[in-house]
Amino acid sequence: LPTKFDWRDKNVVTQVRNQQTCGGCWAFSIVGGIESAYAIKGNNLEELSVQQVIDCSYNNYGCHGGSTVGALSWLNQTQVKLVKDSEYTFKAQTGLCHYFQPSDFGVSITDYAAYDFSGQEDEMLKKLVNCGPLAVTVDAVSWQDYLGGIIQYHCSSGKANHAVLITGFDRTGSIPYWIVRNSWGHTWGIDGYAHIKIGSNVCGIADTVSSVFV
């Protein structure tokens, strides 16, 4: 494994988005993973519709909450094609599900995997490099005030309340860390990203880890 790796360097990660006051982090997280998986397969990097997942994933609660694995399960079962973000734009509130013609452009998933990697972050490193960005859940209570640096303290495991996307890692310094894309706009944290220490399940980052295949 490399000591430093970031899928952004391969131009397969879309820009940081802003969920505004919609509690749809779970949708932003998995759509980010699908966008990257699609680009890693050699396709154009496309911004796909988060609003479609928020409106149509019947086993979740739209802007009132949801789970990454529940949404992936729904996408896998229904084989719904995610359309471009420009075709089904983000409204920051739950709306009626729009349906599209089967001939319209869209990306469907072929499978997904979701596991608890707590105590096995070394295996997570391999999964990130081999499979693409990982959708994970975290305890983000202390992220309200985060400005930068590597999160090592004030963050517990087993209390996940937020979903984000791991795009890379850096183990070149004294404190190895995950590079994590958030959905609170680019003004939050480090240009919209957070750095989280690797190895101690900080913020519960290894508790629910999903990768998606397209």
Binding site: G23, D145, L147, H154, H162
Partner: protein, 73 residues
């Protein structure tokens, strides 16, 4: 900010206290996370949580050695 019932100002004051506490507990090295005023500082933690932290838990199996071996095969 402000202009209402003073709730945002109260939340900001609480944020400043919380930020001081979070920064004081850090080890002091220049790599550890640092905390400060940002776009969420006008919110009480309970409001922040109610708006932004809406991921619901989902129990997933533990990644095991058996899975590792199966994937290797």
């Amino acid at each position: 900010w402000g202009g209402g019932d003073g709730r945002e100002e109260a939340a900001l004051r609480e944020s400043i206290k919380r930020i001081r506490r979070l920064n004081s507990l850090s080890s002091g090295d220049n790599m550890t996370a640092f905390y400060g005023i940002n776009q969420f500082s006008h919110l009480f933690p309970e409001d922040f949580k109610a708006i932004y932290l809406r991921s619901t838990p989902y129990r997933v199996p533990r990644y095991t050695e058996v899975l590792k071996r199966k994937e290797t095969l």
